[in-house]
């Protein structure tokens, strides 16, 4: 029983991290209609920035995380300007290939700049809390709480600010008439900035538990894709739901089925879903 609760909490932790990454991915997809292959690598860079802020400059964890968010926002905007904006009118497979190029570039740059070693963001909240017989590190609770706070913040941003609701309108209705008078460029840049901040927050939160290394973006981006396919590409609630479904499935699957094949689970779910419903679980529109 305790094991079940323990693994559920782990699943929620995992789901929280996935959620922050998948939310950004789905936002970008909604606005630009391009699966941003490099998104996992923004997450990776975010992890490194926080790590170096703490270890090189001795900054506080939270300050480092904020700086990392700012740096990533800039990087996200650069990515939009240099890669996706110029490709706006290209065929969709070319956009995808450009995103792959950006991903390879970021990963290789990280290897060149920072080496291939595994690093860990210093843990400052590693006390163990015992709750109802379940032992948890504080960091796990911080991850879950942090993700919830950011999700609420995102919700408020989208529902209660002009620009936020513009993003939502654009995501839901790309070529509708309601878009008259919207500065598409500004919205695109802002979306990339917000998505990158979420990715960097995910990495800062996860860094003390999981590790920081150049390849860390590859696996999470694939999982984020699985999530947004489950949740419907471009859908925000779908991404949240999909993240926790995947986090819990993986965590419980690893315990009760096979830890060796834990990473296969995500992809198997996707293959299963698309085999049954080729247009995704929550597809919109006719046909």
């Amino acid at each position: 029983m305790n094991l079940l609760i323990q693994q559920t909490v782990n699943g929620l932790t995992l789901g929280s991290i996935y959620c922050l990454v998948a939310l950004g991915l789905t936002l970008i997809y909604g606005i630009m209609e391009v699966p941003n292959f490099a998104h996992g690598h923004l997450y990776m860079v975010g992890g490194y920035v926080t790590f170096f802020m703490m270890t090189l400059y001795g900054l506080n964890y939270w300050v480092s995380a904020i700086i990392s968010g700012i740096v990533l926002a800039v990087l996200g905007i650069l990515l939009e300007r240099l890669v996706f904006n110029p490709m706006r009118n290209s065929p969709s497979s070319n956009k995808f290939i450009a995103a792959v190029g950006a991903m390879l570039f970021l990963e290789a740059s990280a290897r060149v700049l920072w080496g291939s070693d595994f690093r860990s963001i210093p843990a400052i909240y590693d006390n163990v809390v015992v709750m109802g017989g379940v032992r948890l590190t504080e960091q796990r609770l911080i991850i879950i709480a942090g993700a919830v706070i950011l999700m609420v913040a995102l919700y408020v941003f989208i529902k209660h600010t002009m620009i936020g609701s513009t993003i939502e309108a654009m995501a839901q209705n790309r070529d509708g008439a309601s878009l008259v008078g919207i500065d598409v460029n500004r919205v695109a840049m802002l979306t990339f900035a917000v998505a990158s901040i979420l990715a960097s927050a995910a990495a800062s939160l996860a860094g003390p538990i999981f590790l920081v290394y150049p390849g860390m973006g590859s696996l999470i981006i694939m999982k984020a894709f699985v999530i947004i396919v489950i949740g419907g590409m471009g859908s925000i609630p779908g991404a949240v739901l999909g993240s926790f479904i995947l986090g819990l499935t993986e965590s419980l699957g690893a315990t009760y089925l096979s830890s060796n094949y834990k990473d296969v689970v995500a992809f198997a779910i996707l293959v299963l879903i698309l085999s049954i419903k080729p247009s995704g679980l929550f597809a919109k529109g006719a046909r």
């Binding site: 390879l104 992809f267 996707l270």
Partner: protein, 345 residues
């Protein structure tokens, strides 16, 4: 009619030229190292031809290709290592198994569309990669397969020397190029291209889109499987890495550098990219930094790759020469034709 003959003559000359150079290469190559690099390049090129059929001609961005390459390599490697089968049995087996798996994958993945297809095939690639890595008992997990036997000799011909292996790979490469160019110039290849251009229109004209996609996907996998088996027999050590999606991305890069939907593109791109990689050894670290940026620049500015750019240049020059000719001997047949066209517009 005359035009067609001219074209097929030019084609013959191009093939003859390539074959002559390729056959002479071991004799003129200054050192054996180049020979190993080119052999490996040829093997990759076979897989890239497969990718070209899917991405270039059919217009479907499949990211499962490294998975199929790895599958071919492991099937062939395991059959010759564990069951001691001859290379000449394990190679076709590898091609057949890879094709069957691909057909199964295609049956599901071609029901999805657009980005779903790309993500789906990527996931298939990852699954194959993970299964190879985790199925320790069969595949040796991350340790890989070591000591895969060389291709079995056929009568008096053995494949021990580097040269003989080079010629073996060259044989399969030529076969691949032959098959691909036959397909590309036939109605079958045009059908693929029409699907790339507009699936809806093709279906409206009575073309069975699903069957054609499966056909292209199967043939691509067949050759990718052969490439995998050749790799296993040549390198003789394989690890899960050869099925990693990163290899798919490299294939994609090779294809884009050379030029998609062209017959020379995959070979040109693969040789140039692997050649560059090898000659820039000192900057091995920076390789993917450069390639990543290159990929973006190519899709943005040169979507036709080197071969595409060359063909564009050629038609431009021809046009200019035609014009020059025309102004010399006034109302030629070409002029007449052009005038009519103008009238129509």
């Amino acid at each position: 009619m005359l035009d067609g003959m001219k074209k097929s003559n030019a084609k013959l000359i191009a093939y003859g030229g390539f074959l002559a150079v390729a056959i002479a290469f071991p004799f003129i190559s200054p050192n054996r190292y180049y020979l190993t690099v080119v052999t490996l390049g040829f093997i990759y090129a076979i897989a890239v031809y497969g990718l070209n059929l899917i991405v270039g001609y059919l217009g479907q961005l499949s990211l499962a290709q490294a998975g199929f390459f790895g599958l071919g390599a492991y099937v062939s490697g395991l059959l010759s290592l564990k069951l001691h089968l001859s290379f000449w049995i394990s190679l076709p087996m590898a091609a057949v198994v890879t094709t069957l798996v691909a057909l199964l994958v295609g049956l599901i993945s071609f029901r999805t569309r657009g980005h779903y297809f790309v993500i789906f095939t990527l996931c298939i690639g990852v699954i194959i990669n993970l299964v190879i890595e985790k199925w320790d008992d069969l595949t040796g997990g991350v340790r890989g397969l070591i000591g895969i036997p060389r291709p079995t000799s056929i009568g008096p011909i053995d494949f021990i020397s580097l040269e003989s292996q080079y010629y073996l790979v060259l044989f399969f490469l030529s076969l691949t190029i032959f098959v691909m160019s036959q397909i590309a110039s036939s109605l079958v290849g045009r059908t693929f291209k029409s699907i790339r251009n507009s699936e809806e229109l093709a279906a409206t004209l009575g073309i069975n889109v699903m069957r054609n996609k499966l056909l292209a996907f199967g043939i691509a996998a067949f050759f990718t499987g052969i490439a995998g088996a050749l790799f296993a027999g040549y390198i003789r050590f394989i690890g899960p890495d050869i099925s990693n999606p990163h290899l798919t991305f490299e294939f994609l890069l090779f294809l884009l550098i050379g030029g998609q939907a062209t017959i020379a593109g995959p070979l040109v791109g693969t040789l140039i990219a692997t050649g560059l990689t090898e000659s820039l050894q000192f900057m091995q670290e920076y390789r993917m930094v450069v390639f990543g940026a290159l990929l973006i620049i190519i899709v943005k500015f040169f979507p036709g790759g080197l071969v595409g750019a060359a063909m564009k240049l050629k038609t431009k020059i021809e046009k200019r020469m035609n014009k020059a000719n025309k102004s010399v001997n006034a109302p030629s047949k070409g002029e007449n034709h052009a005038a009519k066209n103008r009238g129509f517009n």
